[in-house]
C-alpha cells in the first residue's frame, strides 16, 4: 500500500474533511427534498475540490512562498479588470467570464492576501516593527477595498480577517492591537455619520434588527431560529425537518443549511458536527505550530483561523446572534467555486505539514 505520507496527505485532516463532506451530502439530500441533482452537483464539486487539494499538497512550501507576490499581483490585476468591466456595464460585477467558465477574482485573493502578507512579514525579523505593520495593512486593505467596491462586503471582511490573522500571529505588539481596535471603534461613528447614504444606514439597521423587514432578512432569521429550536435535543430525524420541507426556510441549501441540520439532528448532531469542525481547526493550528519556517506557520495559522471564522459567522447568523451577511457554512453549504478555494487552502496545510526539511525518521 502506498503511504499517504508519500502523497503528501495529512491523514487526520483528510478524515475530518471526508466526514464533513459526507454530512454535506446527507443534509443537502434532505434540504433539496430528495432531489438528486443538488447532492450530485455538490459531489462533483467536492471531487474537484479534493483533486485540487491533492495537487496543491504536492507543491513545496518554498515554491508557494516564492510565488506569493505573483499570485497576489495577478489577483490584484484581475480585481481591477473586473471593476473596469463593471464600470463599463454600470452594474455590480464580480465575475470574470473566461468563455469556458466564469470565476471570481476575489477567490484568488482568499489565498493571495494571507500568502502575500505572510511573505512580506516573514522577510524580516519578527515581531514586525510599525513600518512593516503599516505595509502589511496596506497589502490587506487594498484588495479588500476593491472587493468591497464590487460590492461584496461579506467577502471583503473575511479577506481582511485572513490578513489580520497573519499580522496578529506574527506578533504585533499588544498595545498596537488595542490601539488599532480603538481606532476602528472611533472610525465607525464617523463613517456612519459622514460617509454613508441614508439607504445604506437603513440596510445596516435592518441587519441588526430583522423585524424592520419582516418579509426579508427578518423572515430568514425568524424561520431559521424556529427550525433550530424545534429540533430539540434529539432532532426530528433525517428527512423529517418540517421547516425545510414546507419551504419555510429560505436558502436551505446554501447559507441556512445549518438550520436544516439542527432541525433534523438536534443538539446531539450539533455536538458531533462541532467536534468535527473543532477537530479540523485544531489540526490546522497543530500544523501551524509544528511548521518549520516563519512563512509556512503564519500562512497555516491564518488559513485555519479563516476557516473557523466562516464557520463561526455562519452559525452565528443562523442562530440569530449575528446579522445575516450571506456567509456559507464551509464544505457543508451547496456552493460553487468557493469549495475549490477552500480545498486548495487545505492542500497548502497538507503541503506545509508533509514537506519537512528534516528527513523523516
Amino acid at each position: 500500500m502506498i503511504s499517504l505520507q508519500h502523497w503528501h496527505i495529512d491523514k487526520p485532516l483528510l478524515i475530518g474533511l471526508i466526514l464533513l463532506s459526507c454530512i454535506s451530502l446527507l443534509v443537502l439530500y434532505s434540504a433539496s427534498l430528495q432531489a438528486a441533482a443538488i447532492p450530485l452537483g455538490q459531489l462533483a464539486r467536492l471531487a474537484i475540490g479534493f483533486g485540487v487539494m491533492l495537487a496543491v499538497a504536492q507543491i513545496r512550501p518554498e515554491h508557494l512562498k516564492r510565488w506569493s507576490p505573483y499570485i497576489f499581483a495577478i489577483g490584484l490585476l484581475l480585481l481591477l479588470v473586473v471593476l473596469a468591466v463593471g464600470a463599463d456595464t454600470k452594474g455590480a460585477q464580480r465575475w470574470l467570464n473566461l468563455g469556458l467558465f466564469k470565476f471570481q477574482p476575489s477567490e484568488i485573493m482568499k489565498l493571495g492576501v494571507p500568502m502575500m502578507t505572510a511573505w512580506y512579514l516573514a522577510r524580516q525579523n519578527l515581531p514586525p516593527r510599525s513600518l512593516q505593520i503599516g505595509g502589511a495593512i496596506l497589502i490587506v486593505l487594498i484588495p479588500s477595498y476593491l472587493i468591497a467596491l464590487q460590492p461584496d462586503l461579506g467577502t471583503a471582511l473575511l479577506i481582511t480577517g485572513s490578513g489580520v490573522f497573519v499580522i496578529f500571529l506574527a506578533g504585533m505588539n499588544w498595545f498596537t492591537v488595542i490601539g488599532l481596535l480603538a481606532l476602528a471603534g472611533t472610525a465607525v461613528p464617523l463613517v456612519w455619520t459622514y460617509l454613508m447614504h441614508e439607504y445604506q444606514r437603513q440596510r445596516v439597521l435592518m441587519l441588526f434588527d430583522p423585524t424592520l423587514d419582516p418579509l426579508g432578512a427578518g423572515y430568514h432569521t425568524i424561520q431559521s431560529m424556529i427550525a433550530v429550536g424545534s429540533g430539540g435535543f434529539f432532532g426530528k430525524g433525517w428527512l423529517n425537518g418540517s421547516q425545510a420541507r414546507l419551504d419555510f426556510l429560505p436558502e436551505s441549501s446554501t447559507d441556512f443549511i445549518f438550520a436544516v441540520f439542527a432541525e433534523e439532528f438536534g443538539l446531539i448532531g450539533i455536538v458531533v458536527l462541532f467536534s468535527l469542525y473543532v477537530f479540523v481547526v485544531l489540526r490546522g493550528l497543530f500544523i501551524a505550530f509544528y511548521a518549520q519556517e516563519t512563512y509556512a506557520r503564519l500562512l497555516a495559522g491564518s488559513l485555519t483561523l479563516t476557516f473557523f471564522l466562516y464557520f463561526f459567522v455562519n452559525i452565528g447568523m443562523v442562530t440569530g446572534i449575528l446579522p445575516v451577511v450571506g456567509v456559507p457554512l464551509p464544505i457543508i453549504s451547496y456552493g460553487g467555486s468557493s469549495i475549490v478555494t477552500l480545498m486548495a487552502a487545505f492542500g497548502i496545510l497538507m503541503s506545509i505539514h508533509t514537506h519537512r526539511r528534516i528527513a523523516q525518521a
Binding site: F165, G171, L215, G216, Q223, M225, F274, L305
Partner: protein, 628 residues
C-alpha cells in the same frame, strides 16, 4: 536550505506559539458561546419553538399597496391604475420552456415583443421568481388560459393593477411614467418598502413624488397545509397595505392640451405660471410621446426610434431645453440699469443700425438695418433696439448684469418640484476662466450679453419664473407642479404651500412700473414688436419678443429665413404676463427654429392667456382635453 537569514528564531517561535495558543483558546471559547446559544434554542426554549414550528402553517405574503393617482387641477385623471390579468411563468417549475411558449402561443396571441421582453427577464431575474409573459389579457384570453391551466405547469394568471395614462402623450414631460425596477435602482431603494411591487417612478411627477405615490406594503398571512399548498388566509394576521396618496397638480389639462396643439408639429415649449403663487398651469414640451409602453418595458425598436428621432421627443424642453434668451432679456437689463443708476437712462441714444466699441472695427449690428433713430429705454424695449442695449451693457458692465440677472433666477435652478432640472448659464468672466481653455473675458462678450446672445442659456421654466418676478413686484415664487396631495380614504387634502424663493428689493417702485409699461407697449403701443397679438385683446398684456440665433451671421452677410435651412433658423421666443394691472398668469413660449418671436411664439402665448383669462371661467374647466 541554509539560506535562511539570520533571525532570532527562538524569540520568533516563542511569540508565534503564544499567539497561536491564545487563538486556540479564543476558538474554543467562541465554540462554547455558540453551543450555549444552541442549548438555549434547542433545550431551554425548545417547547416554544416546537409550538411555533407546529403552528408554522402560515406564510407571510406581501400585499402591494395601490399607487396614488395623478390628476390635474380640475380632477382630470392623468395617471391611474386598472386591474388587468397578467400571464406569469415561474421558470423553475417549467421543464421545457420552448415547448411551453409554443403551447401558449397557440392559446393566446404572443407577439415578438412579448417574447423578447420575457427572454430578457429570463436572463436577468432569478428562476424562482414569477415572470410576466404578457400583460393586459382580455377576459376571453384569461378564460382560455384558465381552462388550459392544468396542462400548463408553472403558468399562473394574476389579476394585477396596471399603471395607465389615459391621456397618453398629454403632459408626458411632467407626468412621467413608471417602469420595472432595474438593478441600479435595486441598489438604492429600501427593498422592504418594495416587496410585492415591481414598478417605480422613472420620470416626472411619478419619479419626483415616488415617496408620496408609493404607499406602504401590507402583509397577508397565507395558510398552507402539510404539503405546503396555500389553502386560505388568516384575516386577523393581516396588516393592511396603505394606499399611496393621490396627487393633484396645478396643471390645467385643457390649457396643456391647447399649448401642445398650438405647438403642433413644431419643436418647442410653453410654460405658464401663476406669478402670485408659483403654480405651474401649463408645462408643455413638443414633440411628445406615449408613456404607456414604458410601464412594462418598451421594446428596443420603439425605444431606438424615439432616441433617434431628429426631433428628440424624449427631451423635456420646458425643464432641460437651454436656449439663448435673445431680446427677452432686455426688460431685465433695463431694470438693472434703472436700479443701479450706473447707466444714464435719461439720455437718448441715436441708433443707426450698428454699434462699434471704441478703438475697434467690429460692428455689432442691430436687427433693423437702417436703425431705430433716437431711443430712450422705453422705446428701446418697445422696438427691441439692439444698439441701445449694446450701449447699456457696456455702461452697466458684465458683473452688474450677471449679479442682477441671477437675482431673477436666471442661470440657476428655479427649485421646481421636479427632479433633474437644468440650470442654464449666465456667462461671467469667472465662469469663462474656469473653462478648460481658460480664455479671458472680452468686452465684446459683454456687448452681446446685452441682447441675450453668446453662451447665455436659459430654460423656458426660468424665463417664466423671471417674468413672474416683474409681475409679482419683485418676489420670485418657487414654481410648483403639484398643488396638493390627497389621502385616498379620507379625501383629506394637504396643500403644497406656495413659498417665496427670492425677493428683489427695489430702490424705487417707479423703475418697475416703467419696465412694465414698456412691456405693455411692446404689445399695445405704437411700433411695438408684439402688436400682432395686442390690437384685438380684451385685456392688457405686458410682453417681450425675442429671437435667438442658432448660427452666427458673418460681418457682411445678411440673415434670410427663406434661404436658411429649417434647423438653422432662429428660435422664436416670447414672454408675457396679463392682465397688466393685476397679473394672473405669466407665460414663456419657445418655438425652435420658428423664426421671429412675434410671428411664431407670441400668438401661442395669446391663446394661452385667452384661455385662462376669458374662456376658462365661462366654459368650465378642462373642456379641451384630448381623448386617450
Amino acid at each position: 536550505m541554509l539560506n535562511i537569514p539570520i533571525k532570532d528564531y527562538f524569540r520568533e517561535t516563542r511569540i508565534f506559539n503564544s499567539r497561536l495558543s491564545f487563538t486556540a483558546v479564543i476558538v474554543l471559547l467562541l465554540c462554547l458561546t455558540l453551543l450555549v446559544r444552541l442549548v438555549h434554542l434547542q433545550v431551554v426554549s425548545h417547547t416554544h419553538y416546537a409550538t411555533l414550528s407546529q403552528d408554522n402553517r402560515i406564510n407571510p405574503v406581501p400585499i402591494p399597496p395601490v399607487r396614488g393617482m395623478i390628476l390635474d387641477t380640475n380632477g382630470v385623471v392623468l395617471a391611474q391604475n386598472y386591474p388587468a390579468f397578467t400571464l406569469e411563468i415561474t421558470p423553475d417549475q417549467v421543464d421545457d420552456m420552448g415547448a411551453l411558449l409554443g403551447q401558449l402561443g397557440g392559446i393566446i396571441q404572443l407577439n415578438e415583443t412579448d417574447l423578447e421582453n420575457f427572454r430578457k427577464l429570463l436572463r436577468t431575474r432569478p428562476s424562482f421568481e414569477s415572470l410576466p409573459l404578457r400583460t393586459r389579457l382580455s377576459d376571453e384570453e384569461a378564460a382560455r388560459i384558465a381552462i388550459q391551466r392544468p396542462h400548463l405547469q408553472g403558468v399562473e394568471l394574476h389579476a394585477r393593477l396596471q399603471r395607465h395614462y389615459p391621456l397618453g402623450e398629454l403632459g408626458i414631460h411632467f407626468v412621467g411614467y413608471v417602469g420595472r425596477i432595474n438593478d441600479e435602482e435595486m441598489e438604492t431603494i429600501n427593498t422592504s418598502a418594495y416587496r410585492g411591487t415591481q414598478h417605480i417612478g422613472k420620470l416626472g411627477v411619478e419619479r419626483s413624488y415616488e415617496d408620496v405615490l408609493l404607499g406602504r406594503v401590507g402583509i397577508k398571512s397565507a395558510v398552507i397545509n402539510a404539503h405546503g399548498r396555500g389553502i386560505g388566509a388568516l384575516e386577523d394576521q393581516r396588516i393592511a397595505p396603505v394606499a399611496g396618496k393621490n396627487i393633484y397638480l396645478n396643471i390645467d389639462a385643457g390649457m396643456q392640451a391647447l399649448a401642445e396643439n398650438e405647438l403642433g408639429e413644431r419643436r418647442g415649449a410653453v410654460v405658464a405660471m401663476n406669478p402670485i403663487n408659483g403654480a405651474i398651469l401649463t408645462f408643455a414640451s413638443t414633440p411628445t410621446y406615449d408613456p404607456n409602453p414604458f410601464v412594462n418595458g418598451i421594446d428596443v425598436e420603439s425605444y431606438d426610434a424615439l432616441l433617434e428621432n431628429p426631433d428628440k421627443p424624449l427631451i423635456n424642453r420646458a425643464l432641460n431645453g437651454q436656449y439663448a434668451p435673445g431680446s427677452t432679456i432686455k426688460p431685465f437689463l433695463g431694470l438693472a440699469a434703472l436700479e443701479t443708476g450706473v447707466f444714464d437712462t435719461k439720455e437718448r441714444i441715436n441708433c443707426q443700425g450698428s454699434f462699434t466699441l471704441p478703438g475697434t472695427s467690429h460692428r455689432f449690428r442691430d436687427w433693423k438695418k437702417k436703425g431705430h433713430g433716437r431711443m430712450d429705454l422705453h422705446d428701446a424695449i418697445v422696438q427691441s433696439c439692439d444698439v441701445y442695449f449694446y450701449n447699456l451693457a457696456v455702461g452697466l458692465g458684465i458683473d452688474a448684469m450677471t449679479d442682477f440677472l441671477s437675482r431673477f433666477g436666471l442661470g440657476r435652478k428655479t427649485g421646481i418640484d421636479l427632479l433633474l432640472e437644468s440650470s442654464g448659464l449666465v456667462p461671467s468672466p469667472e465662469w469663462k476662466q474656469s473653462q478648460p481653455d481658460g480664455e479671458p473675458w472680452y468686452l465684446g462678450e459683454t456687448v452681446v450679453t446685452g441682447i441675450g446672445q453668446g453662451p447665455f442659456l436659459v430654460t423656458p421654466l426660468q424665463l417664466v419664473s423671471a417674468v413672474s418676478v416683474l409681475a409679482n413686484e419683485g418676489v420670485r415664487m418657487r414654481p410648483r407642479i403639484v398643488r396638493a396631495t390627497e389621502d385616498p380614504i379620507t379625501h383629506e387634502l394637504r396643500d403644497n404651500v406656495p413659498e417665496a424663493a427670492t425677493q428683489i428689493i427695489l430702490s424705487n417702485e417707479h423703475n418697475l412700473d416703467l419696465i412694465v409699461q414698456s412691456m405693455a407697449d411692446v404689445v399695445h403701443g405704437e411700433g411695438g414688436t408684439g402688436r400682432r397679438i395686442g390690437w384685438d385683446a380684451k385685456y392688457k398684456i405686458a410682453g417681450k419678443t425675442g429671437t435667438a440665433q442658432v448660427i452666427s451671421i458673418g460681418q457682411e452677410e445678411t440673415y434670410d429665413a427663406e434661404t436658411t435651412p429649417e434647423r438653422l433658423r432662429d428660435h422664436a421666443l416670447f414672454i408675457a404676463f396679463a392682465p397688466v394691472d393685476s397679473p394672473q398668469l405669466a407665460v414663456a413660449v419657445i418655438v425652435e427654429n420658428g423664426g421671429g418671436g412675434s410671428v411664431a411664439a407670441a400668438p401661442i402665448a395669446r391663446k394661452i392667456l385667452d384661455f385662462y383669462l376669458l374662456k376658462r371661467d365661462k366654459q368650465g374647466p378642462a373642456r379641451q382635453v384630448r381623448g386617450g
